[in-house]
């Protein structure tokens, strides 16, 4: 009998998040039955697209002002017992990580995270991860009994619709959250973003230590990203230094991006960074140190001072527009 795969769905406004659609697409390939679990009050708005990507049903739980991952994990305890899916997939996202970790503790079940492949080998479920900057691929299999819990990094799979009918929405009563339910969301702040999201952008421009100072990030990285209709990212070094927030970090402990073009400005190319961007179609690197590892994967490498090269590039691009 085919497998039943569940996806912990997340939304981006009134649409399913792209990471959710990627997981549904893979779930269809691996399983026979695909269903979603969603924490939010707008499941009806999402049901059409969830169905189009393969979910026949969506279990919807109202968050009631609590962090969605907490509500999702708690609701899943009973839902899993009642419906026995074989695999539950989460995105390696803020809420996906909250959900899979709390569920792991509640069920006393191990997890595999940071997956970038998912396949079956007979009745074994195998999750692949990348380590050492993506130069080594590790496959791990679950032992013990289903359901198996896995978190997959966004951008690991392509999202392709199957043309299915809208998912049937089944409302699930809010579970008793215990003290975990004290994690109340009081306010939501949306920061204005010009241009595309980092993970969706066709062009990503990232900056690192070679920018020299935090003040150079805006005029060099943000401005170039804007001119190329892209998104701006960062190396871990400047996130750790407090120059830009964690949400901008590209790499192992940050986001994976696969744009058509990745521009690395003043980034040496620590393995930690490479794993998040080496899947880009094209890479331009600008760095003072000609020996920097980033040049080993760059399609166009410029050995030079980013604070000199990039302003000229920006000026030339402005002159064209």
């Amino acid at each position: 009998m085919g497998l039943k795969i569940w996806v912990f769905a997340e939304a981006d406004g009134d649409k399913p998040a792209s990471s959710t659609l990627e997981l549904l697409t893979k779930a269809r390939e691996v399983g026979e039955t695909v269903e979603a679990v969603y924490v939010g009050s707008n499941a009806d708005a999402l049901a059409g697209t969830l169905g189009e990507y393969g979910a026949s049903k969506v279990y919807a739980v109202d968050p009631g002002g609590v962090l969605p991952g907490v509500v999702g994990a708690t609701a899943l305890v009973d839902l899993l017992a009642a419906n026995s899916p074989d695999i539950v997939l989460f995105a390696q996202s803020y809420d996906g990580r909250d959900a899979i970790s709390l569920l792991s503790a509640k069920l006393d079940k191990p997890v595999l995270t940071n997956g970038f492949t998912l396949r079956l080998d007979g009745d074994k479920v195998i999750v692949g991860t990348q380590i050492f900057g993506g130069n080594t691929l590790v496959d791990a299999e679950f032992e013990g009994e289903a359901p198996f819990l896995a978190a997959i990094r966004p951008k690991s799979f392509a999202a392709e619709p199957s043309g299915g009918a809208a998912a049937a929405v089944e409302t699930v009563a809010a579970p008793d959250l215990g003290r975990a339910g004290e994690a109340k969301v009081l306010e939501t702040h949306v920061e204005e973003r010009e241009g595309p999201k980092l993970e969706e952008a066709v062009v990503v421009v990232s900056g690192g230590r070679g920018l020299g100072s935090a003040d150079n990030y805006g005029p060099l990285v943000d401005d170039l990203a804007k001119l190329l209709h892209g998104a701006s990212g960062a190396s871990r070094a400047i996130v750790d230094a407090g120059w830009v927030p964690y949400a901008k970090q590209v790499g192992q402990t940050g986001k994976t991006v696969k744009p058509k073009l990745y521009v690395a400005i003043g980034i040496s190319g620590a393995t930690q960074h490479m794993v998040g961007m080496k899947g880009s179609d094209n890479i331009i690197a600008i760095n003072k140190d000609g020996e920097a590892p980033i040049f080993g994967i760059a399609d166009l490498g410029v050995v030079g001072d980013a604070t000199k090269v990039v302003p000229k590039l920006i000026e030339a691009l402005r002159a064209r527009s």
Binding site: D12, L67, G69, V70, S93, R97, S101, L102, S104, A105, P110, V111, T113, D121, I131, F132, N135, T136, V138, D139, A140, E141, E143, A151, R179, A180, A183, L186, H189, V190, E191, K197, V203, R236, V239, D240, G242, P245, Y246, A247, T253, K260, L261, A270, T271, Q272, K278, N282, I286, G296, I297, L300, G301, V302, V303, G304, V310, K312, L313, A316
Partner: protein, 260 residues
């Protein structure tokens, strides 16, 4: 206010990582250092205790071979003491077992109001420890904090989101994961380094924490690595020295890609 900070001692990330051929786990035999990701939690904890006007910071770390060099760094920053869980029976533990070790250590410390962690470690980066520890303790977990405030028995954070941030609150005791770069970790002073040598490190085993060795480490692992292989390498393209006109070649490259 009493705070536990979970700290991991890891191989220097600047040196290339290696796997043990037989177990496929990260080689951790050499000198270990404090994971830089954890230095933010240590600093945050010191600031919160300082603001609260009393209490202390206790470190919890699980490491092979009684390793303390990373702990000494955090003690030199100002933490009062440490619990070090070092036990061959824990080698090969998965993240849930590690979380059990940490949760039991928090209970052993006793009277803890807040547990701080990084969002993930630099070497293993499973990223599930904060939520697992909170789940095991039955405490609320507030994750991905970029600001942390404590007042009147509650913790309020700014939680990083895809679109910006949320303000999230819970009563204490609670577990909070802190994103990198949100505070500036202090450099240990000479006095701090000297004092750290005499700060208490409570060395415990799995059994001391009441954990069954048959359910920890390799014996308890419920997932198995089935293959390890080299990824196909990406080839480098053209490399040029900037002679003042490199921007023109970048423009030509952008035109070729049709992104401009």
């Amino acid at each position: 206010m009493n705070v536990v900070v979970c700290v991991k001692q890891i191989p220097d990330p600047a040196t290339p990582g290696e796997l043990n051929a037989d177990t496929h786990t990260l080689k951790r035999e050499g000198k270990l250092i404090l994971d830089e990701s954890d230095s933010f939690g240590v600093e945050m904890a010191l600031q919160l205790v300082d603001k609260a006007g009393g209490g202390e910071v206790t470190l919890v770390s699980m490491a092979p071979n009684d390793e303390v060099s990373g702990l000494r760094t955090a003690l030199a920053m100002g933490a009062a003491k440490a619990i070090l869980v070092s036990d061959p029976a824990l080698a090969g533990s998965d993240s849930l077992t590690t979380a059990k070790v940490i949760a039991r250590s928090v209970e052993r410390a006793g009277g803890i109001d807040l547990v701080l962690t990084a969002t993930e470690s630099t070497d293993g980066y499973t990223g599930t420890i904060p939520g697992q520890v909170a789940g095991l303790l039955g405490w609320p977990s507030l994750t991905f904090a970029k600001e942390v405030e404590i007042a009147d028995g509650t913790v309020k954070i700014q939680r990083q989101t895809e679109a910006g941030y949320d303000v999230v609150e819970a009563s204490l005791p609670a577990v909070v994961s802190v994103t990198a770069g949100v505070v500036e970790p202090r450099y240990p002073s000479f006095k701090g380094i000297m004092a750290a040598k005499n700060k208490p490190v409570d060395k415990v085993t799995a059994a001391d924490l009441g954990l069954d060795a048959s359910q920890a480490g390799w014996a308890g692992a419920r997932q198995q690595i089935v293959s390890v292989e080299k990824a196909p390498e990406r080839q480098a393209g053209e490399k040029i020295e900037d002679d003042g006109t490199a921007h023109e070649q970048i423009i030509a490259f952008l035109e070729k890609l049709k992104v401009i």
